[in-house]
C-alpha cells in the first residue's frame, strides 16, 4: 500500500498488503462520530481503489 501525491491509497494485490488498508478502513468505521467510508468509486481494472470518507459534517475526504 502506497500513498500517492493525490492522497489516494493504492493497494496492489501483488504487494500482498491489504492489511494496512483494512486497518485504516476499520479505524474509520470505529471512529466517532460515525462516518461513511466509500470504496465504490473504483477505476477501470480496479487496480486502484479510492477511499472516500464522508463525515456527519458533510465533508468528503479523498484519502
Amino acid at each position: 500500500m502506497t500513498e500517492q501525491p493525490d492522497r489516494t491509497l493504492h493497494v496492489r494485490r501483488a504487494d500482498n498488503d491489504l492489511a494496512g488498508f483494512a486497518d485504516r478502513v476499520v479505524e474509520l468505521l470505529l471512529s466517532e462520530p460515525p462516518c461513511l467510508v466509500d470504496l465504490s468509486r473504483h477505476e477501470a481494472g480496479a487496480t486502484r481503489i479510492a477511499l472516500y470518507v464522508t463525515t456527519q459534517e458533510g465533508r468528503d475526504d479523498h484519502t
Binding site: V25, L29, L36, D38, L39
Partner: protein, 549 residues
C-alpha cells in the same frame, strides 16, 4: 462492545438500505452493540443520511474485472475479520458472495426478508437459499403474507418452522413536524408527489422517462387551467430520461432526504409501488396512483392491485391519458384515512432477535437424536386418560397422547395436529378442512405416503400444506421390546431423527403397560430424546424451508 454487521445491496430501490439503516440505528440507540452497515450501492444519497458507520463497496458482481472483484472481496474479508461481528444481518436476497465470506463462518446470521412474490419465495426456498440463516425475519404480518399467493409448502414452512418470525413491515415513518412543515409551505395547494424510489431508468426499459415526462406534461396542462396543484418529481439517482425543467407548479429533485415526509404530506402519491416507497406513501393520507413496472422478485403488478383493493387508489400505466385521468380523479377524492400498522413494533422485534443472537456466549451443544413414537393399541389397551379410547397414541414427555387416524377424520372433526396417515381409501374430507381444524402433520406408515393419500393431497392441495413424515412400522408380539430397540438403533445409525409406528395390538393391557415402561426406561438411558408432536411439525417445516422436500 461487540459488533453487529448489516450486509446489504442496493438493487433497484432504496428499500434494502433504508431497512438496514433503520435497524442499525435502533441497535445503536440500545447501546449494547456497535452496528456497522456494509453496503454495495452505486448511489450514496441515502447512505449519507446515516447516523451509523457505513462501508460502501460497488456492486461487486458488476465490477469490470474478476481481479477487481477478488480485490474487493479480500478487503471485505480483512475488514470483517477485524470487526469480529457477534451477529450478521442480511437483507432480503441471500447473496452468494456474502455467504462465502470466511470471516463470517460460524457467526450467527439473520435474514430480514421484505415481501417476495410467491414464485420467488418458492424458488429461493427450493434451492436451499434460506438454509444458512439462524433466523429469517419476514417484514410482513400474517394477513399480508396470506394475500401474496404463496404456495402451500411456503406457507407451511413460514408458519410452522421455528426459524421464521413474521415481524411486520419495516419502513421509515416521518415525524409529524416534518410533514407539517411541508404542508405549511404549500399554503393549501394540493400536492402531487411522483416517485419511483431510486429506480428511475436503472432497468433500461424507459419507465422513469415515461412516468416523469408524462407527469410533467400533466402538470403543464393543469397549470394552464390555473389548477392550484403543485407537482414534486423525485426522480431517483438512476433516472436517465429526458431533462425535466422546473416550472411554476413543478419542482424536480434527484434525491430528497425528506421523501417520506413529502409522501406523507401529499394529496396524491404517484408511485412505482416498490415496498419502501409504497409503505412510506401509505403512512400518510395521499390517494394512491400506482404505476407498476418490472421489479426483482416483488411481483409489483399483483401487489399493486391488492394494495388498491385494500387501501383504495388506482393502478394505471405510464400512458399519459391514463395517468392524467388517475391523477385528476385522485385530486378530487377525499384523502385516504386507513393507515397500515406503525413500524415500531416490527423494528423492535427484529432488534430483539439481533440482540438475542449476539448475546449467546455459551458454546452450542450437539442436539440428541430424536425419535417420534406412535403406538397402535387394541381397544382393550387404549385409554387416553379421559376415559375415551385412543387406539392411536403418540408418546410424549408426559406419556402417550391420543391422535387420530386419517381414515377416521370426518369433515371438520380433526382435533389433532398430528394424524396417522394410513387411510385407504382416502377420507371423505378435504385436506383444507383438516388444515383448517388444526391438522399439521401426517405420519405415514412406511417410507412414502400411501398412493391414495398422496392423490387425495394432490387433487386439492391445502394452504398451508399438510406436512408429512415417513415412518418405520413394526409389531411387538410380547412385552419384551428388544427387537424394537434393535430396529430403532439401526435407523438412528443413519438418521438423526426417526419416526416409528409400533403396533401393540397383539398385547394385553398389562403387556402394553410393561412394554411402554421398558421403552421409556431404555430411551432415557440412550443419547436419544422423544420428539413431541410440535418437534415433528417444526422439523418438517424447517426441512421445507431448506428445500429438502
Amino acid at each position: 462492545m461487540k459488533t453487529a454487521v448489516f450486509l446489504v445491496k442496493n438493487g433497484i430501490g432504496y428499500g434494502h438500505i433504508r431497512r438496514a439503516l433503520l435497524l442499525a440505528e435502533r441497535v445503536r440507540a440500545a447501546g449494547r452493540l456497535r452496528p456497522v452497515v456494509i453496503s454495495q450501492a452505486h448511489t450514496l444519497d441515502l447512505l449519507r443520511t446515516a447516523s451509523v458507520p457505513v462501508l460502501n463497496l460497488p456492486l461487486v458482481h458488476r465490477v469490470p474485472s474478476a481481479v477487481g472483484e477478488d480485490c474487493y472481496l479480500e478487503i471485505l474479508e480483512a475488514v470483517l475479520a477485524r470487526l469480529e461481528p457477534a451477529v450478521v444481518v442480511e437483507d432480503t436476497y441471500p447473496d452468494v458472495r456474502y455467504a462465502a465470506l470466511m470471516a463470517l463462518h460460524g457467526v450467527p446470521r439473520l435474514l430480514v426478508l421484505r415481501r417476495l412474490d410467491g414464485l420467488s419465495f418458492d424458488q429461493l426456498r427450493a434451492r436451499g437459499a434460506f438454509t444458512r440463516y439462524d433466523r429469517i425475519l419476514i417484514a410482513q404480518d400474517d394477513q399480508e403474507l396470506m394475500s401474496e399467493g404463496h404456495s402451500g409448502d411456503s406457507l407451511a414452512a413460514i408458519r410452522y418452522s421455528d426459524r421464521v418470525l413474521l415481524a411486520g413491515n419495516v419502513y421509515y415513518r416521518p415525524h409529524a413536524d416534518a410533514v407539517d412543515r411541508i404542508r405549511n409551505r404549500l399554503r393549501g395547494a394540493p400536492l402531487v408527489v411522483v416517485s419511483a424510489g431510486a429506480g428511475g431508468d436503472q432497468l433500461a426499459d424507459g419507465f422513469g422517462d415515461r412516468l416523469f415526462r408524462g407527469c410533467h406534461h400533466i402538470a403543464e396542462r393543469m397549470h394552464a387551467e390555473d389548477h392550484p396543484a403543485q407537482f414534486v418529481l423525485v426522480t431517483g439517482p438512476y433516472y436517465a430520461g429526458a431533462e425535466l425543467p422546473e416550472t411554476e407548479n413543478v419542482t424536480v429533485h434527484r434525491f430528497r432526504p425528506d421523501l417520506p415526509a413529502l409522501l406523507a404530506a401529499a394529496d396524491v402519491a404517484v408511485i412505482k409501488p416498490g415496498n419502501n416507497v409504497l409503505s412510506e406513501a401509505l403512512s400518510g393520507s395521499a390517494n394512491l396512483v400506482l404505476v407498476p413496472d418490472a421489479s426483482f422478485m416483488e411481483g409489483v403488478d399483483g401487489h399493486a392491485a391488492r394494495i388498491a383493493e385494500l387501501h383504495g387508489g388506482v393502478v394505471t400505466s405510464t400512458a399519459v391519458g391514463d395517468l392524467e385521468a388517475a391523477i385528476r380523479a385522485a385530486l378530487v377524492e377525499p384523502l385516504r384515512r386507513a393507515r397500515p400498522a406503525r413500524p415500531d413494533e416490527a423494528i423492535g422485534r427484529i432488534d430483539a432477535a439481533i440482540h438475542s443472537h449476539a448475546a449467546v456466549t455459551e458454546p452450542p451443544a450437539v442436539a440428541p437424536r430424536t425419535v417420534g413414537l406412535v403406538l397402535r393399541l387394541s381397544e382393550d389397551a387404549a385409554a387416553d386418560g379421559t376415559g375415551s379410547p385412543a387406539r392411536i397414541a403418540i408418546l410424549g414427555p408426559d406419556g402417550a397422547v391420543g391422535i387420530e387416524r386419517l381414515s377416521e377424520c370426518a369433515g371438520g372433526s380433526s382435533r389433532s395436529a398430528v394424524i396417522l396417515g394410513d387411510a385407504v381409501p382416502a377420507p371423505p374430507v378435504r385436506p383444507q378442512d383438516i388444515v383448517d381444524h388444526g391438522g399439521r402433520l401426517l405420519i405415514s406408515t412406511g417410507p412414502d405416503l400411501e398412493a391414495a393419500v398422496r392423490r387425495w393431497l394432490d387433487l386439492e392441495p391445502p394452504r398451508p400444506s399438510l406436512l408429512w413424515v415417513a415412518a418405520t412400522s413394526m409389531r411387538l408380539r410380547s412385552s419384551d421390546p428388544t427387537s424394537f430397540f434393535r430396529m430403532l438403533v439401526g435407523r438412528l445409525a443413519k438418521a438423526v431423527s426417526v419416526v416409528m409406528v409400533l403396533d401393540l395390538t397383539a398385547l394385553s393391557p398389562g403387556e402394553v403397560e410393561e412394554a411402554v415402561r421398558r421403552i421409556e426406561d431404555w430411551i432415557r438411558r440412550q443419547p436419544v430424546r422423544i420428539a413431541t408432536p410440535n418437534d415433528l411439525i417444526t422439523e418438517q417445516a424447517t426441512a421445507l424451508l431448506e428445500g429438502d422436500q
